[in-house]
Symmetry: C2
Subunit: 798 residues, 2 copies
């Protein structure tokens, strides 16, 4: 357990020095580390001790002990990492901001509104283009690969020596995956996986370093192409969501820090609040392009991210979604030589479910619910296995070369298993007149027949899903489906979490479709009158929904995505019932896959609601204290010292005011952020200098926007000894009206305020408006409902 | 202008005395009337004057003048009525509440959660049943009526004397409408119209008296049956939303105050916050049953009401929606002798749009957008006409008998116009082989033909819509459609706002479908190759969407409702584009119909965002002051006097604490509501009594819940002269941690806090935590963006 590096974590990388700002302990360090609390409850929170605040005596003794070993604490779900910073979804309404807003005319606001629409349109368009690019390249590469292998197999089927084909296949797969894995593991580890957990965190308000950078996008797109072409049990849909989010974050800022280009547009949007709204739109556009589900995309964004619903914002998000799916559809129709045909709105196309043929009956509903329960169970099993695997990976497979090797191994094994399954399968089916199979493998089948197992394995997963949904009854025999489900389940489980860009949606759908179809076939064979159960495709769809719901545990958005992907609202009710059952059953055992991964990264994620039994706690127990405060007019030296003091790394500082005449205690009069102080120091906004150089340009909001979001660390700012003696007037720059709560406020009430307004710092005051503490995201995220009631997570630097 | 009564207003009725609590000026009276502000700005707000607070000198002179004439101020959109109270969507977390929460175990919370699901299931089920009942009764009654009239027409077509048929038709219609109008106008005026504006207000946090009572539901259901059977240009869909909301409010409380039955269940849900959540679910269930659109229902609830999105809540709302449409479908299938057939999920059924036949092409999109613009224009025209009409009605038609007579007149005119249109139309069409027309009228057509105009007029509007969508090309000739659009447009416009329960969805769809189909036919006749434009049904659908969007201006939810009602996601993009265009074009001229009616009722409605240019204003300018405060331990006499003082009618009182020793000014230590004080007074929770009678039962949360929501007025509580000298300790009952803002907070910031948390009172404090003012809904709703920049609405008692 000692050799934990931070390579596998989202939060930081060794090879990136502090110079860039993000990820440095200084700038993005935590609020005050709370070692005192860390051990006091012994992991499990003891309610009885909370009403007292007598924990201070433990601090001194424990502190040294703890400081020596934070590295030893492994990633696990009982920790909250202090590495993750919050985003500030509450505007700092300082004087500069208010002046700007007040200067702006009504026409100005209209123009802003129009540019928001323009940005959303651009986001949708670019996301659609990226989806289109991925789709075409994957199809070309996979097509080439399967052609080569197929020819090879056909050649060797007759002469013998199919092991050469196997090797060819495995090598081709591994080569693709190697490329994809290397760029991910070595250049941008954050691009691994589907990116959905990261986007969830971002929208929740957690700053995940480098998650919306251009480099991440490039690696993501390249990685997903390689991993899908490499035949892994992955989908290209999840990464689209991340890609859309990156596009949104880039476009909305009107510049690229990576490319060092500033287009001087959309400067107004350079703050966390505005950026978040656009990232929501980008994620929605990604879902929309992936599944052809614009409404589902909007709901995904809302379900996973937003907490405040706003009609115009939602409508803009929907606009981005629509443009995205439309762009994809338009370009794909040109690519497919059917311009103007609007029938492929997403990367995955479930094919057309005609309502006449596949209507369901009332008495089938209990069966659907049973399938939902199966999906929930299998999903929970999948998640548990993947959880163990992820812990194993965090502990032992953290070096890039090991990660690449593991990915290549998985690719080779996938090819081998597939080959073996196809080889030993003797499920031969006659080739249909219309040759609906893309790459029919004859192998040992008679002429005019093809190997049925190969349609499932020797194909991109998207096509396999479609075949399972729509192929005629009798295309697959039950044994084939059973074997396929079994092997693919474990392959997919092993694959998720590799250092490759890849989504889990399609593998889940595929597993579910396979056992769903099996379920349908068995049902038809049991019942005597085969006619009404005749269509196993319907059961494949329900199975797919059940399995996906059991793994990811999404609710409304997934229902709508599935309905939109089938293009038929008839299945709304059964899909909802199935997802509901799968979620209830699955939640009984373990959380959803994304939540597991978020927890394993120790992200301070705020859920929808505070733990139910947390009314015991008040702000007094929850808050961090004592708080470092500044005076309204503060000495530069003090500020520099506080900012440089590495062990605290506060990001928000209450500003207080002493009444000169009386000796009343200081009252809260504002809140200033580390990033604002940095900009002030950089521009040397000192009282003395302002007096001497009267013509000096006044600091404007633009200066803060230019520095956003990569504020330099304090070390890079040189402050001379003379300057240290100067004073800085914070009045103009602090937020003069931070939200506050009294000490007696209950945790749920604090939580509600914090979550609803997307705060980063919430000042706790006493009845005379004096600062007594500060509540941050980590203070709230620490409490969660465990098996033994309310538990408190430990905080760690890991 | 002098004879304004309040009969036509939502807020109060003359015939209901103060005894029931709601609607009395005392209990539901306003926060402090702000006469001083009322005239100071002269209607239009003058920014320049705001930074000073020197308005006080004007008060004395203006006050008497103003008091004398509040009755004279007509309902108009430049007023905010003080009659409307707020709902309290922020829990009062007093000691009683916290104790209860802390006593509750984790299991207890799980049970609560489960009962929430049960309630939602019940809401869905009952809403579905009501929809089913309405549908069947309307079908039977309308069927009987049309049969009788048809036979009569057939009889007199040959012998002459069709005027007798006309009279029969007109009398039948008027009779139905008379019944519907009498129950609405005389028994429950709040049940008039679609109820959507009222539910919007309720979800927004405005207490509309009697809006969720059982009596309202009964009148609504009876009224809608009569008005639809009476052949008015109305739909039965809008009222379903209101009905669902009433069902939800009733079921979730586990009792009916009207029936005086208390089932002693769901007592935990007896507060505004919980009730609102269920009402959201009820409204969603109503939409779902009306249009067969469960997802659209959820989105409707969110778009019109909620501001805080919560995954589990949304999922529950969706559950209620699904159950509702399923229940309706199930019972309708039994009624139609096709048990198990799940093809009629809503009251309105757009019929099946098969994707093959009606796909659209890229080059049609500009046409769709043009249709959207037409829809926006026509919608704006509709709204403007209806606005004038409503003003006229408010001024002159406010007595029930006049209202009933107007409704009967409209019914008779509708019948006459329809008859005339049919009579003078010579558009004969051959009867199809399958007799798809329900009541084909032959009139003067040849045998085997029927009058085409009659399919549009001589039918329930739902069927007419479906015919316009799906009848074969060539069924209608352009003149018929043009005439129909024209007449129906004015009829529908005249009808909306009558004292009958009726929705505007279906008439809008019908108008739009008619001109849309006309558009399609003209297009086909212009273009040479008729084949691609061959299907006018597609244009009818787009026209329907455009017209509806132009009138109601809903966005995402309407898109989804339309898509779900067509059962085909292919039309998602064009419908979105059309609705977007219609909204943009329409908003340029006038607001949506519901918003117009809300404004005309002077409801203090909080929109999504504060006016864009309101950063000028701070809490200091916005708040009401001075504020009546209570001491933590207050004399009973003082409390009774304050509560009885009719001219202020505060509902929330900050509780302050004087430090006994020093002469420091009083600090805020809590907030107590009028309703809580009333309960305390009723139970005589006095300090002296508690001392003397030690065994007295402690007041519990249950006592407050039992009194909810109809708290008695202060007059009904007898307090003896001795008791007036007692003291009351408010500590246990006040909310000890009300949200506060400093005086310098900008209006947008105040607004955001207020709206996001659904507050009713927001205390404004100075830097020493002393109360300086109180912000309520009316203080925020007053400001809106008019043509001349920021405007301030006047407050009036009307």
């Amino acid at each position: 357990m000692a050799n934990i590096t931070k390579k596998v974590s989202w939060s930081s990388r060794h090879d990136e020095p502090g110079a860039t700002g993000e990820g440095t302990p200084l700038l993005n360090g935590s609020e005050q580390p709370r070692y005192s609390r860390q051990l006091s409850g012994g992991g499990i929170f003891q309610i009885g001790r909370l009403s007292t605040v007598d924990l201070d005596e433990e601090v001194a003794s424990d502190q040294d002990h703890l400081r020596s070993r934070p590295k030893e604490i492994p990633h696990n779900e009982k920790l909250l990492s202090l590495k993750f910073e919050s985003l500030d979804y509450d505007n700092s309404e300082n004087q500069l901001f208010l002046e700007e807003e007040r200067r702006m005319s009504y026409i100005g606001f209209r123009c802003l509104e129009i540019s928001r629409w323009v940005v959303c349109g651009l986001i949708g368009f670019l996301t659609g283009l990226i989806a289109c690019f991925i789709d075409i390249v994957v199809e070309q590469l996979a097509g080439m690969k399967y052609q080569v292998v197929k020819q090879n197999i056909e050649k060797f089927t007759e002469v013998g020596g199919l092991s050469i084909s196997l090797i060819l296949w495995a090598v081709l797969n591994s080569a693709f995956v190697m490329v994809g894995s290397i760029i991910v593991a070595c250049f941008e580890p954050i691009a691994a996986g589907s990116g959905i957990p990261q986007i969830k965190c971002y929208l929740n308000g957690v700053k995940i370093p480098r998650v919306v950078r251009l480099k991440t996008l490039l690696v993501k797109v390249g990685g997903v192409i390689c991993s899908v072409a490499g035949g892994l049990a992955v989908g290209k849909e999840g990464p689209m969501i991340h890609s859309g989010a990156v596009v949104a974050a880039g476009v909305s800022q009107g510049r690229s820090t990576s490319l060092k280009r500033d287009f001087k547009i959309f400067e107004y949007f350079r703050r966390d609040t505005e950026k978040r709204d656009f990232v929501s739109a980008g994620a929605a556009a990604g879902v929309s392009a992936a599944f052809g589900a614009p409404v589902g995309g909007v709901l995904f964004s809302l379900e996973e991210g937003a907490s405040f619903w706003n009609q115009m914002l939602t409508w803009r998000i929907f606009f981005a979604s629509m443009i995205s799916t439309f762009t994809l559809n338009f370009f794909l129709s040109i690519y497919n030589d059917k311009p103007g045909d609007l029938s492929s709105p997403g990367l995955i196309n479930f094919g057309r479910f005609e309502s006449d043929s596949v209507e369901y009956n009332l008495y089938e509903i209990p069966l659907f619910i049973a399938m939902g329960a199966i999906g929930g169970l299998l999903g929970a099993l999948f998640n548990v296995l993947n959880y163990w695997l992820t812990i194993f990976r965090i502990r032992y497979i953290h070096r890039p070369c090991l990660q690449v090797m593991e990915a290549m191994l998985v690719a080779a094994v996938t090819a081998t298993v597939s080959f073996a399954m196809i080889y030993f399968s003797n499920d031969c089916q006659p080739l249909g007149p219309d040759h609906s199979e893309e790459y029919p493998l004859q192998l040992f089948c008679a002429d005019g027949e093809y190997n049925s197992m190969a349609t499932a394995f020797f194909n991109t997963p998207e096509r396999s899903v479609r075949s399972l949904f729509h192929n005629q009854p009798g295309t697959y025999n039950p044994l084939t489906l059973g074997m396929f489900t079994l092997t693919y389940f474990f392959l997919a489980c092993w694959t998720y979490g590799l250092a490759v860009s890849a989504g889990v949606f399609i593998p889940s759908l595929l597993i579910g479709a396979a056992w769903g179809r099996l379920f349908g076939i068995l049902l038809a064979s049991i019942t005597s009158s085969g006619s009404i159960w005749a269509d196993p495709g319907k059961y494949a769809l329900i199975g797919a929904a059940a399995q996906l719901g059991g793994i990811v545990r999404m609710t409304l958005s997934l229902t709508v995505i599935m309905v939109e992907a089938t293009g038929n609202v008839t299945y709304g009710l059964p899909i909802m019932l199935v997802l509901m059952t799968a979620k209830i059953v699955g939640d009984y055992f373990v959380e959803g896959l994304y939540d597991i991964h978020i927890k394993l990264q120790s992200v301070p994620f705020l859920h929808w609601e505070p733990p139910a039994t947390s009314h015991w706690l008040t702000a007094r127990e929850v808050m961090s204290s004592p708080v470092t405060c500044f005076n309204r007019i503060e000495k530069v030296g003090t500020i520099v010292d506080v900012l440089s003091y590495t062990s605290t790394n506060h990001n928000g500082f209450p500003v207080v005011m002493h009444h000169a005449a009386s000796d009343e205690p200081a009252k809260l009069c504002g809140l200033i952020l580390r990033s604002q102080l940095i900009v002030l120091l950089k521009h040397k906004v000192f009282v003395e200098l302002a007096r001497s150089r009267l013509t000096q340009r006044k600091l404007q909001l633009k200066d803060f926007r230019d520095a956003y979001p990569r504020f330099p660390p304090i070390q890079s700012i040189h402050v001379s000894q003379d300057e240290r003696e100067c004073m800085m007037d914070l009045t103009e720059f602090m937020n003069p009206t931070p939200y506050t709560v009294p000490q007696e406020t209950s945790l749920p009430r604090v939580f509600k305020l914090f979550r609803a307004l997307g705060l980063r710092h919430l000042v706790v005051v006493d009845d005379a408006n004096r600062v007594v503490g500060l509540v941050t995201r980590k203070d709230l995220a620490r409490y969660h409902l465990g098996k033994h009631g309310l538990e408190e997570l430990q905080l760690a630097q890991t």
